[in-house]
């Protein structure tokens, strides 16, 4: 068990709803759900059997205290931020943000499924964007395709080759970015300092061990 998971289990005992309310982004809205099912019926990813548990079900499980089942679920990782559910929910529950909040919290606790591709994308994207302040699309693509090792990466890159070539020809993917050209902010130092401070303040406010 990770330190933070131990810390939180001890703090909230069996009150999982309270844990989500205080720890997950927008988690204090979960109690507003009236189980109407509109969100589950609106979700485009639902058609591809991606979800073990659509949003409505996750909210019910949170109230029922099913901590492991919720935090270890792959469901919230399939949310594509389309905001269909968000604008339709009769109780105005900010479902999209809660999905992200649950995923983030599960990830911090070390309970999120391993090898979850969207989790990897999320980390890669944020690291990529905050390194220089702006996204480097070439490095982003490289890291993504090579995540499973060299052979798999080459296979995936080959499959995507026609896509990439098309973009390069249309001057929309700049291979120079891979070797350190690319876009950056001038005040990278300031950005890093400000982000370090932000992480520190957030951990403090949520009472998380740094």
């Amino acid at each position: 068990m990770s330190d933070m998971n131990q810390q939180m289990t001890a703090r909230y005992k069996n009150n999982f709803l309270k844990e989500i309310e205080e720890q997950a982004e927008m988690g204090d809205w979960v109690k507003m759900c009236m189980q109407c099912g509109v969100c589950s019926g609106s979700c485009p990813t639902n058609f591809h059997s991606a979800w073990d548990h659509p949003p409505q079900e996750l909210f019910m499980m949170i109230r029922a205290g099913k901590r492991d089942e919720v935090l270890e679920s792959g469901s919230m990782w399939n949310c594509v931020s389309c905001y269909n559910c968000y604008v339709r929910c009769p109780r105005k529950v900010p479902i999209t943000h809660i999905m992200h909040g649950l995923a983030e919290y599960a990830y911090r606790l070390g309970k999120a499924p391993k090898q979850q591709p969207t989790q990897f994308l999320s980390k890669t994207f944020w690291d990529n964007a905050t390194k220089t302040g702006r996204v480097n699309e070439v490095k982003l693509t490289q890291t993504l395709y090579f995540k499973n090792g060299l052979m798999d990466g080459i296979k995936q890159a080959m499959a995507m080759q026609s896509v990439a070539l098309g973009l390069v020809k249309a001057k929309r993917l700049n291979p120079m970015e891979a070797v350190g050209g690319g876009h950056k902010c001038k005040d990278i130092k300031g950005i890093h300092a400000m982000l370090a401070k932000a992480r520190e303040l957030e951990a403090q406010r949520k009472g998380r061990a740094a």
Partner: protein
Amino acid sequence: MARKEYAFYPGCSSQKGASASNYLTSVESMCKTLDVKMTEIPDWNCCGASISYAESGELPRLVMNARNFALAEQNLPGQDIVATCAACWLGSRESKERLEHSSVLMADTNTALKEAGLNLKVIPEVRHMVEVLIEDLGYDELAKPVKKPLDGMKFAGYVGCQTNRPFGIAGESFENPMYLDKLVESVGGTATQFDQKVTCCGGALAFSEPDKAQAQIKDIIEAAYDSGAEMLVTPCPLCQANTEVYQGQINKKYGTKFNMPVLYYSQLMTLAYGGTAKEAALDGNVIKARKLEEFAAK
């Protein structure tokens, strides 16, 4: 002085050599004709996009957006921030609302910003380019400079999700927004009855789980063909890229014969205003819009 001035937030994908650089070129041409001045926010940074949620956490993401607000406030006082990318717009506007809603988050944000030598007092309005066109100028003004109407060309207006939800354009419905169709019509084109106009394309899953996203993209392109459209038009660089660049792979997987060009509204407007293929950045389309290339040469 220009008729309107804005603090421009181009976003990562619209930089030179990036995946939506053709969007930027055509927006510049369009704004020149409309006498709208867009000044880039100096040293702006990425908004973090929706997809970074798991790694970033809440405050760091807000702080990234707040840095852009502070830079705009300091360098371009009194100007609204205008984004061309739906995701940048959404990320910034959501951050604005959350900061204005919570004094705790606002105070923490300013503590963090101090590390970068910045301070945020009033957050400027955050708007999408399309909002500016429709609300600050209006369809009539947009139609005035038309020199070459796009007569007889049929476009399916693909609004996608993030330009539409959760904020959308004032006065439009989430289920059937009409503004993109109206934009097409104000420059002389025909908008088809396209029933997938607000369907999600799968967003970032196109990268992390391509099979799932491509199934969604296939439905969208299919419906565009069914509506009688020759081309797709979008207001968002992500929707544009997702619906354009995977058509070849979808053809391989499903045996379809998709080859539908996907344009930005700004490209259509530039051409209708008499701009060249270069000014409209038609060379930036992966699936070539032959019909428009011929139209531009005429």
